[in-house]
């Protein structure tokens, strides 16, 4: 349940007050260059700018740190493998494995970039309340099916989890204890199958319920968002920063 809470969406900063569409646009403008650049300096710049954004959005640093921990748990593995698998100047070796300078640099680059991207998304997309996300995406021309998919995944993932828990408890009540045997795997397969069937049934019922209330495919929002001057500034900042990243990157490589 906690995973469905939206701790970042409740603030009242200049970013929270901006039009969700501007935030989505800005997020795309910033993260695409961030993901594409491959020089250290650009990556550091991106990280610094993303941190500045969190300050502007007045987000709780502890909460950000907690989420980054999860992301970096995956990145740690890069540090185990990349130094030993990239060719370059050797630094040290363990047995037949040799760690290279280039390998470490690559690991550092990926760490910086992924953190910058995640922080930017947290600040710009994480601050959009779910009920505004669907209509905003719809207004930006995202196919309705994708918008609905996002919205309903968010709403029903908890219900599906509840059904899973009910079923697993019912299994335990009948003495089910998972072990490494075919009975366990078969039971789990049935559980997953049943979960799919139930989700399908539920999807049909939800669809009926929405039809009964006159749903015709278009999402509406109660929040009022008008495109303001400050939204233009946000998008301009996105364009400017994105260009800066690309410029630094190309400049270092000697292309510009």
């Amino acid at each position: 349940m906690t995973s469905l809470a939206e701790p970042f969406a409740t603030g009242n900063s200049f970013i929270h007050r901006s039009d969700p569409r501007a935030r989505i646009a800005c997020a795309v403008l910033l993260t695409v260059p961030m993901a594409l650049v491959d020089t250290q300096l650009t990556a550091w710049t991106a990280l610094v700018f993303s941190l500045v954004l969190t300050v502007l959005a007045l987000l709780d640093p502890i909460e950000i740190f907690r989420r980054l921990l999860v992301v970096n748990l995956f990145i740690v593995f890069l540090w185990f493998f990349l130094p030993f698998s990239s060719p370059g100047i050797p630094i040290f070796s363990i047995g037949s494995l040799t760690a290279t300078k280039q390998g470490f640099q690559l690991a550092l680059l990926l760490t910086l970039k992924s953190n910058a991207v995640v922080i930017t998304l947290m600040t710009l997309l994480g601050t959009i309340r779910m009920q505004d996300m669907g209509p905003a995406m719809q207004a930006m021309g995202v196919p309705p099916k994708l918008c609905h998919l996002l919205l309903f995944t968010y709403r029903y993932i908890f219900v599906i989890r509840q059904e899973y828990e009910v079923m697993i408890r019912a299994m335990q009540a009948r003495g089910f204890a998972p072990a490494n045997n075919i009975h366990t795997y078969r039971s789990y397969a049935w559980l997953v199958g049943m979960l799919l069937v139930r989700s399908w049934d539920r999807a049909e019922r939800v669809n009926s319920a929405m039809l009964c209330r006159g749903f015709s495919g278009k999402l509406y929002t109660l929040s009022r968002h008008r495109f303001k001057f400050s939204d233009m500034i946000l998008i301009s900042a996105g364009v400017l920063l994105g260009s800066i990243f690309v410029f630094i990157d190309l400049h270092i490589k000697g292309i510009i």
Binding site: Q131, V206, L211, C212
Partner: protein
Amino acid sequence: MTHGNLINLHDVYYAYPHEAPVLNGVNFCLAGGDSLGLMGPNGAGKTTFLHVLMGLLKPTQGTVELFGIKPNTPEELRKARLQIGFLFQNSDDQLFSPTVLDDVAFGPLNQGLSREQALERARTTLQTLGLESFEPRVPYRLSGGEKKLVALATILAMEPKVLILDEPTTGLSPEARKRLMTIINDLDTPRLVVSHDADFLSHTTDSILAMRNGVIRPGQLKPHTHMHVHAEGDIPHEHG
């Protein structure tokens, strides 16, 4: 518009693909001012009947007339449905928005109301039901009884001409059930209540129909006495 029938089903048959028919010639009619109850054992076809009535399922035979027309196109169906408030058996199927207020405003927005009008409508409806404090709450975190009341609010906000309640008391606590009973009794909207709860039906409807083997018949009065006292006797229960 005459005071004619709001809903009229004539000789309706329905069978799910590759299965034995569920509805075997249903005749049903709800007129203005009517307040009907429908009882029937599990598998009698009650839910199928309701879904055919709402146009969610197309009958294999027979006609469904809603508000004087036989809706055929999706748009006609949509218009007809907008005038019927259909309360689903499982509130989780009905409530899908991130907040209660959004959910209650969903129907009015679909009806074409402006943002302000929809908001106003949603707020008044919640107020009438004494749920104004629920506005910012998240539907999936409400209790079963609260969910049911909010689900009722979402359909009342559409100011329907007819109310259809499918098993409204299932899983409700005695308090929640009582509150729902009071609310429904205070409404003067024509209604059809489907339930196993005879006591609830006798309090919220004027006459009770019975459904058995895919056919609806007028309910029959069976004399019986009730005179017993036992612990938790106010909870609806059955005696063998």
